[in-house]
Symmetry: C2
Subunit: 253 residues, 2 copies
């Protein structure tokens, strides 16, 4: 029995998110099906966290225990052969038995892309949020810096009684290590790295930073939203298409 760490990229546009659901195309479901086709073994790979419908990944990580004959070094190519082109396995590694995609994760990085030009190129429509209206980008940068540190992020967590945050902890305290907006040509890009993220947390943060950009909220207001621990005072959830899970970090083995 091997324990495997599978790193994969996906275009989330045509999937109903990561988590397997009956009768719906999901990334976890497609990966499980591919593993079964290649090895004959039915397993459910455990992702570092769920991504919602339309959210992309540059390097999601999943783990699974596999009792199959195929050499680990052949798995990447075999899986990519049967997976849809919208999902690519970037690597497959054998890891220690205690490694778990979600439980062993120590930090994650997300990115959110906003296209600022007046006309969004059709080739970006699935991959960035088009927001061509005026924004005070400096104020957004300042607001982004305010959330760095350990905070209770309840104001930015989806109100979703049947589902906890991706870490399935009862606490909404998380540590944000870095949080910054950066202009790259016609795009305004937010990158955030943290110990973990609650359900919808990055999209709700982005929606709130947009309120700051529009002048509806000032930087002190951002701080009040954070302290309120109340979802209703934060901004709306930004669209899924702009969000990317960039990487997942684990302790050195």
């Amino acid at each position: 029995m091997r324990n495997l760490k599978i790193t994969l990229a996906y275009d989330g546009s045509d999937f109903h998110g990561w988590q397997v659901q009956p009768e719906r195309a999901t990334v976890q479901g497609a990966l499980a099906e591919a593993i079964q086709r290649v090895t004959g073994v039915k397993v459910l790979p455990q992702g570092s966290g769920r991504t919602d419908a339309g959210v992309h990944a540059l390097a999601q990580v999943a783990s699974c225990q596999l009792d199959a004959g195929i050499p680990t070094e052949n798995l990447q190519r075999a899986l990519n052969h049967v997976l849809p082109a919208a999902i690519r396995v970037l690597s497959v590694e054998e890891v220690a038995p205690e490694f778990h995609g979600r439980k062993s994760a120590r930090a994650k990085t997300y990115r959110y892309r906003i296209y600022r030009g007046e006309i969004c190129p059709p080739f970006l429509a699935r991959y960035a949020y088009h927001y061509p209206y005026p924004l005070d980008e400096e104020a957004m940068c300042a607001a982004a810096a305010r959330i760095v540190g350990e905070h209770d992020f309840t104001s930015f967590a989806a109100v979703d009684p049947e589902r906890g945050g991706e870490e399935e902890e009862s606490s909404n305290v998380r540590t944000v290590y870095s949080s910054a907006w950066k202009r790259e040509g016609d795009e305004l890009i937010y990158t955030v790295r943290g110990s973990g993220f609650l359900h919808h947390m990055v999209r709700n943060l982005v929606g709130t930073f947009l309120l700051v950009g529009k002048g509806t909220l000032d930087c002190a207001g951002m701080e009040r939203v954070l302290q309120a621990r109340d979802r209703s005072v934060a901004g709306p959830t930004a669209p899924a298409c702009g969000l990317y899970l960039v990487s997942v970090e684990y302790c050195a083995p």
Copy 2:
């Protein structure tokens, strides 16, 4: 009555090509519907040529005569408001009454993108042809140069009795002004500019250049294929997803 020149970009992935068809999503159909929604007038914009299902455009041109009150300068924004995000109007200009999207076209440029890396990023799967196998790229460059000039391109024209080339001329003689492959990082990109192109001509050229790259055909063989005027001796049609209509040139007004 104004005569309009509409320049548009589209992601062809989810369309059954340019030309309007009953019960199917087409770019021409979507544009006609958008014009009708915005102006109340039913017209069929005439493209510079048809693009096939899955083929993209960076700057397709269409013309139509419009008898409607809306100022020309408001049309671009109004059309983009109702069009799907996969189609964007880049400009709308008033042109001389004799201007016609197809008949007035003097030259066109197409591009074909091949992704050469071993794993095609999922975000490129719709936008490039993934070909990670060995290719003699220098031989392909040499073969590309051989087709420059005025030639009968019958060997590269789709055998399609019910449909002529996009110019709807009976002759298969066209002039290629430039034809070259270029490496850009992990991509191998073919750019061809010519007086006009037969149906499937660029994709059949690319399919034949790939035979040269694989060593199945040498440069002299390329010349024989061109001279044979016989579709059956050329290579297969390369996949649609790699092809882009880059621009259409017209005489100065």
